[in-house]
């Protein structure tokens, strides 16, 4: 599903070069739930933005669902992002002026779905996160946990092949965080491929596999044998 090979990202200014990712490689299979951990500045977010096609990389290769994204135009990357990827952000990133249904509608609009198709998908995704009754509410009228559920519903509405989550419980209290992580696990059980960035070891432990990043490099992989992991995800 997601295959990065010897991928590097260097931020350059006139006086300094910062290596956010160095020769970074990762292979995430379809249906896998991978946690990416590491201290602040280790390159977790850079990985997420490159994986989400929000940013270009300096060198290496990146295959997303069989498509080589190197050299793609901004427009091509936007389309691929819209079709294949769902984002769950730490800060939810809901648009405050739009109600819940209209927030979920945003990626569907760019997908050029018909009005009926968009309505169906909004209804289904809201049912999936248990917020059908809140379709006309505005983000400010919801709790943090509910807002994150809306963000998940928005990410799911387009039936993405890959869910990228950035500290999905970082802004939530313990009880709300538990609800959200249970929802993510449920999505995984239903077959979603999920890559979650977190610095919370307890949260990372809920994933099938943990990839640890330090200074833009993978330093430690889950010792769990690949075969056992594959058996668990039914490959």
């Amino acid at each position: 599903m997601l295959n990065m090979s010897r991928l590097s990202k260097i931020y350059r200014t006139q006086v300094i070069e910062t290596h956010a990712l160095r020769e970074f490689s990762i292979h995430v299979r379809e249906g896998e739930f991978v946690a990416l951990t590491g201290p602040s500045g280790s390159g977790k977010t850079t990985f997420l933005t490159i994986a989400g096609l929000l940013e270009e990389f300096s060198s290496g290769d990146y295959m997303l669902d069989g498509t080589n994204v190197r050299g793609m135009t901004d427009s091509q990357r936007s389309r691929l992002r819209n079709q294949k990827i769902g984002f769950i952000f730490q800060a939810f990133n809901l648009i405050p002026d739009l109600n819940v249904a209209n927030n979920i509608d945003v990626p569907l609009r760019y997908r050029r779905f018909s009005a009926a198709e968009r309505r169906r998908r909004i209804t289904e995704s809201l049912e999936r996160v248990g917020l059908s009754a809140r379709a006309r509410h505005y983000p400010a009228e919801l709790s943090g946990g509910q807002q994150q559920r809306v963000a998940i519903a928005r990410a799911l509405a387009g039936s993405p092949r890959l869910l990228l989550a950035d500290e999905p419980t970082g802004n939530l209290d313990t009880q709300m965080a538990r609800g959200v992580i249970e929802l993510i696990e449920e999505l995984h059980r239903d077959g979603a491929t999920i890559v979650m960035v977190t610095h919370d070891p307890a949260l990372a432990a809920r994933a099938q596999r943990e990839v640890h990043l330090v200074d833009g490099q993978v330093v430690d992989l889950d010792p769990q044998p690949l075969a056992a992991m594959e058996a668990r995800v039914g490959l």
């Binding site: 929000l54 940013e55 992002r81 819209n82 990133n93 760019y110 928005r154």
Partner: protein, 437 residues
């Protein structure tokens, strides 16, 4: 998708009312100032009779002795009475009408009302057909009436209403000066803008209260009230006859020449007449003639005043300043929306989607600004009319063309001003925005 962008734009206007209002006001004020200037400029330069302006001409002869010329090297605006009569007698035009502006005292039919002064145009029967003057009742007097110097009158609609109420007054008489005139026609609303057939300071843009035959006015010894240049002349037994025989220029002659051939023929005849007068020893300077059409005449007699040109330039500069302000405000507005742009980009919006969304928002702001500009312009023009007063700028109004231009200008200029902010919004890096958030 455009309806989606349009809906988002309307939604967005309500998001930051203070900033939106500032942008709309900046655009509205700029558009109002420039639309007012445009209206004034158009009032001075518009073709007042587009359907036949190319066929209407005024002959000029350089008959005024150089020491009495008030217009420098320019030809006199009018003809002498004798020259006008001589040209009329040649019957070279399809239609022709001599005219001058005068006035008299009118005694209302109702004896309880006091006599009052009226503005009079003495002219020929062809005047009304020449200028497509509309009639409410009756019609123009006839050529026979002209020849007979008949005491007939065509009333303006306002004077008719003042004298008789809103009724058909054909056949009634009005007492003008010392004689009774029979009403043969009542004009419908007619206010050519500008009042092109004669520039007259005394008129200040107004159409006369009534019209009488040229010969009849001469018989009544009604003197010209304006537009006269007059070398000294010796008076004989009759001061009036001496005036008519003098070299004073005060009569305007309008002719209708439908074809280029007609124009050439008339020009030749005019030159021939001037040469003949020169040979007779009347002029001791090289004689010149001219046959000016409506546009040339207006440019000569009623050029756009320097103040209006200056106001136009200032208002364009003002519009530019307003648009620069609007651009800065829009830039601020779009930058505050960077986070939303970042989220939309993350959810699949292409740069062109962001561009179109911002463009729709800019267009809506431009439209609202344009509408505000129209309202402010209407107030501005009303203010100009009330301050300047009289009828000098009574013809200054914003017509449908001006208003359409205002809205279009608001749209185009706002879109233009919004290009840079929109381009900046397009460049928002979603990764950075999401990292910041």
């Amino acid at each position: 998708m455009f309806s989606y962008y349009f809906g988002l734009a309307l939604h967005s206007l309500r998001r930051n009312v203070a900033l939106t209002s500032l942008i709309v006001i900046a655009i509205g004020v700029g558009i109002a100032a420039s639309t007012c200037a445009l209206s004034m400029f158009r009032a001075y330069t518009a073709d007042p009779i587009p359907q036949k302006s190319s066929q209407l001409f005024v002959p000029h002869i350089d008959s005024l002795s150089p020491e009495y010329r008030e217009r420098g090297d320019k030809l006199p605006l009018h003809l002498t009475y004798q020259d006008a009569r001589a040209l009329l007698a040649q019957h070279l035009a399809k239609r022709q009408a001599p005219m001058y502006f005068t006035g008299s005292t009118l005694a209302p039919p109702n004896p309880r009302l006091h006599p009052f002064q009226v503005l009079v145009r003495a002219t020929g029967a062809d005047f009304f057909a020449l200028f497509d003057v509309p009639f409410q009742y009756g019609a123009a007097w006839s050529a026979t009436d002209d020849e007979a110097r008949a005491e007939v009158v065509v009333l303006g609609s306002q004077l008719n209403e003042r004298l008789f109420g809103r009724v058909n007054s054909i056949g009634r008489t009005v007492h003008l000066g010392t004689r009774d005139f029979r009403v043969v026609g009542v004009l419908d609303a007619w206010a050519p803008s500008p009042r092109f057939y004669e520039a007259s300071n005394a008129m200040q843009g107004r159409v006369e209260d009534l019209f009488i035959p040229f010969g009849s006015a001469i018989d009544q010894h009604l003197p010209p009230w304006d537009n006269m240049a007059c070398p000294p002349f010796s008076s004989g037994p009759s001061q009036w006859d001496a005036f008519l025989a003098s070299e004073c220029v005060w009569v305007r002659l309008w002719v209708q020449l439908p074809t280029a051939g007609d124009v050439q023929r008339y020009r030749r005849a005019l030159d021939g007449y001037a040469d003949e007068q020169t040979r007779s020893g009347r002029y001791h300077w090289p004689i010149r003639t001219a046959l000016l059409n409506v546009g040339a005449l207006l440019a000569d007699e009623q050029p756009v005043p320097t103040e209006v040109r200056l106001y136009g330039l200032i208002s364009l500069g003002f519009l530019l300043v307003c648009l620069l302000n609007a651009m800065a405000l829009m830039l601020a507005r779009f930058m505050t929306q960077s986070a939303e742009v970042g989220v939309r980009r993350a959810l699949g919006a292409r740069r062109i989607d962001v561009f179109l969304q911002c463009l729709a928002e800019t267009a809506v702001i431009g439209l609202v600004g344009g509408l505000l500009g129209i309202g402010l312009c209407a107030l501005g023009l009303a203010g100009i009319r009330s301050i300047v007063g009289g009828a000098t700028v009574a013809f200054v109004y914003a017509d449908r063309v001006d208003l359409s231009i205002a809205v279009l200008a608001a749209l185009v200029s706002t879109l233009f001003a919004g290009l840079y902010p929109t381009w900046r919004a397009m460049q928002v890096q979603p990764a950075w925005q999401l990292k910041i958030n």
